[in-house]
Homo-oligomer: 516 residues x 2
């Protein structure tokens, strides 16, 4: 056996049994080792952004890391935007980046680059095996970092560390330390603030965005009569029968307005809300001046236990009733006529199947879906966490691989879909149960709005050419079918309802161009 | 006026009048400034790898830098693989990367990342404007670095440096220092070695790969009866009537064999030949042990003057006749029957129009083209210099923008085409005169070979799934047409000849799937 075999053994011993991959020559020994381990499922992406976006979607749903296999610095670079998104989602991920053999680096062959420098900005942990004997310890460290941060571990594997021989040895699972809940001092401080009578909010994120912890957060807020805000995390429960915390609006003016009444905010798995971008003359932070911020616990801590402890401290009974929204969207009247972004969203919310996974890269177009979502069938939303567009089709692919029994719905803007459109091929190859709805507005609509924000209302040729996606319009049906994904086009609400209903009834990937 | 206006003024004052772009919110003031400068042509790519690959193709042919506009760290990351290729091609390029406003960075908003760390591995120069007042000096430094290195300058432009006001001022062109030819000491040493009677070779690269300097290098080698080897550069003359130096083979064993007889090598614009990858038990360097290496001049120096000085020193008359290959490929018999990689290449070499620009990302499939190229119509070849696949469609787009009166031929492998397939849309939008021939073998054929090199001859499921691109096969006609590029499919030599002839006769982008 060699270093690459050891790498596979450590991954498998720790339950990492899916590897999203786009290999190159320096990874041939790793590919050969994977070929000797059929129990480690390898999934090809035709571009590295697909590989890393799919690993993110998989790990968000599987709640364990996937491995990725990337080819040297440029291969890693191609995957970085979606690694960035995964980092912001705090998704556990183990990237294995092949590199030249250690002794070959000094010759500066064409594919040589400073992989560490590329990896660090988007990784919580970066390591390099120098020898085959290093591999076990390195992968174990990477696994530990990925699971406990939780976040991104990037391990560089030189060719000779992969191909050099090793004696067989037994590989045992890494012991993961249990995360700590909030310290009692912080707990007392948070509890005192929330019952102080001041205008208070509990702001949640991370693992509090679903399941029992979400319910407990809702129970606390409802019992105390305070606001419950959510910073969306990698995976967010939604729909009827589930606590619906208030989102923090994307737009600076709206966010400031939504939070302006607060005297004190307790953060639990969330961070202080800041503007997604800076704008001339507008503040960077969204809370009102003088608002006290109490950081109760952050991601990486045991948030579920923390929220239970907070309830205890506040005297909120764990069986106290908690109000949740009723199921309403199925009874909404079906919109009629030509499609708009809002009617597309309404139809999706109305027809959404129970337990769907909604991968959201609708950007400007999905607002009405999120407004209606609390009244839809119970579901989960996987948002774009890092703002790097191009996550949609791979995120959906990864989620579908982790959850083959759940329907995955991709809400997809057309501009952002183009960054990793090759993800459709992986959906086809693996026959994944994903319905992608493209809000087709033939523009970077968000940027057209942002231009107006900077005072430009009439676009000349250069701005038009940079912000419009027409001339030529993308032919979404041909595009999807070229990758092996069947597709349909809807210009009216009736057509969309018919296509979406049909796609939900069938199994396998389908794409709908919703022309708005 | 603001910092972004100043940036545009400096670019224009220095003749940088094309900007390949994929903007985001933090670049809105830059987009607005570009919109006030219609003489600066903005070209949208639907993915940043298209933007940077097109900038590379443009600058190789225009012999001046293009600007790129990229959105924060992830936008830069998406463009890095082709920046890597451009760096290895020593292409002048000025990347403008938008970032958050300086005061906003501390809040770690979702799109925040360490842009310098991402930029450095693929840049010769990295700078950041801190204020609007910095912008002029920074862009001038970037331009100077791009032109004189020559290579990659990456300038980070925070939002407030773009939007803050400036007094108008006159902007004048940057004075570029003239590059120096080789020092006379090195010249004497090189000349002595070449006429020593030892088995010698002149190994050229950079600007010596075309025009009068190539002819002079050929004249020297022929007069002295020594070998002339070429390390292909960003732009290489080929075809009948042009000196045809010997290429250094890609495969380690072949390269070693081709060079094994040499006692001394003079490098002029080239570097010591090394293996593209390392392999167990094979050497990293390709020259025989004991071979003397004389580094006469490197890229960034005045290679054309150096080669003239070398001829003088050697007493090679500048008007001495130089043998060049005759035009032969038009008289080759047209191949018949089903297509193979070699017959595709033969047909292209046979029908190649005069003065064509050949963008080569054929990987394993293009060998026969390069073997026949010396007998084809005069042309230039733009190769993949950094080994990061995914340059083809954007490189062709950029070359076509720089040279609207020349036919651009893309030799394209199917696997590598998928990385930046969105480049077809830019070809369609700008109505570029590009014929792309896809060598469609539905596999990463080079990796299948490399697996055999590491001793794996029978692939299991994992290796098959990672190295084959079938299941499903890509539908190239639908794919090209979905981006607005008309296309045809050839399974036989007759079909390919007909399609290729038709595409050469018409103007505008066309794609041919050559099924091999």
């Amino acid at each position: 056996m060699n270093g690459a075999d050891r790498l596979c053994d450590v991954l498998l011993a720790n339950g990492v049994d899916v590897c999203f991959a786009n290999p190159g020559t320096s990874e041939m020994h790793f590919v050969a080792a994977l070929d000797r381990k059929p129990e480690l499922r390898c999934i090809l992406g035709l571009f590295e952004g697909v590989v890393t976006g799919a690993a993110d979607g998989y790990a968000r749903m599987a709640e364990k890391p996937a491995a990725t296999l990337l080819h040297t610095g440029p291969g890693l670079a191609n995957g970085l935007a979606n690694i960035h998104n995964a980092k912001r989602a705090r998704t556990p991920m183990i990237n294995i980046v092949g590199d030249h053999a250690t002794y070959h680096l000094q010759y500066d062959a064409p594919l040589t680059s400073d992989i560490e420098s590329l990896a660090r900005p988007m990784s919580h942990w970066v390591g390099r095996a120098q020898t085959a004997g290093d591999v076990r310890q390195m992968v174990e460290q990477a696994y530990l970092a990925a699971c406990t941060t939780p976040g991104i571990a990037t391990m560089i594997l030189p060719g000779d560390a992969a191909w050099n021989s090793l004696e067989p040895e037994e590989v045992t699972p890494v012991r993961l330390p249990a995360p700590e809940p909030a310290a009692s001092e912080q707990l007392l401080k948070a509890a005192a603030a929330l019952r102080s009578g001041r205008r208070a909010a509990l702001m949640i994120g991370g693992a509090l965005t679903r399941g029992k912890p979400l319910e407990m957060a809702g129970r606390i807020a409802q019992t105390l009569g305070i606001d419950l805000f959510v910073q969306r995390s990698g995976r967010n429960a939604g729909g009827a029968g589930r606590v619906a915390p208030k989102p923090i609006p994307y737009r600076v003016d709206s966010a400031i307005d939504a939070l302006k009444h607060l005297d004190v905010v307790v953060l639990c798995g969330a961070t202080e809300p800041v503007g997604f971008f800076a704008y001339p003359g507008k503040p960077s932070t969204m809370l009102p001046p003088g608002c006290e911020i109490i950081a109760l616990a952050e991601q990486g801590q045991d948030l579920a236990t923390t929220i239970t402890h907070l309830a205890d401290e506040l005297g909120v009974r764990p069986d106290a009733p908690v109000a949740t929204p009723p199921l309403t969207t199925p009874n909404l009247p079906m919109p009629t006529g030509r499609l708009t972004a809002d009617t597309v969203s309404t139809i999706i919310a109305k027809l959404l199947p129970e337990n769907a996974i909604v991968c959201d890269e609708a950007i400007t177009s999905g607002g009405a879906f999120h407004a209606l979502a609390p009244g839809a069938e119970p579901h989960e939303v996987l948002p774009l966490m890092g703002g790097a567009i191009g996550i949609g089709t791979p995120l959906a692919a990864g989620a579908a691989i982790a959850c083959p029994d759940r329907k995955v719905i991709g809400l997809q803007a057309d501009g952002s879909a183009m960054y990793t459109i090759q993800g459709l091929w992986t959906q086809a190859r693996e026959n994944l149960d994903v319905v992608t709805v493209v809000y087709s507005n033939r523009a970077y609509a968000i940027l057209q709005d942002e231009m107006k924000n900077v005072g430009v209302n009439h676009f000349g040729r250069n701005a038009s050419r940079m912000l419009n996606l027409d001339e030529p319009a993308l032919d979404w049906l041909s595009l999807a079918r070229s990758f092996g994904v069947d597709a349909g086009r809807a210009e009216t609400t009736e057509e969309l309802a018919r296509l979406f209903t049909g796609a939900l009834r069938n199994r396998g990937p389908f794409l709908i161009e919703a022309v708005i």
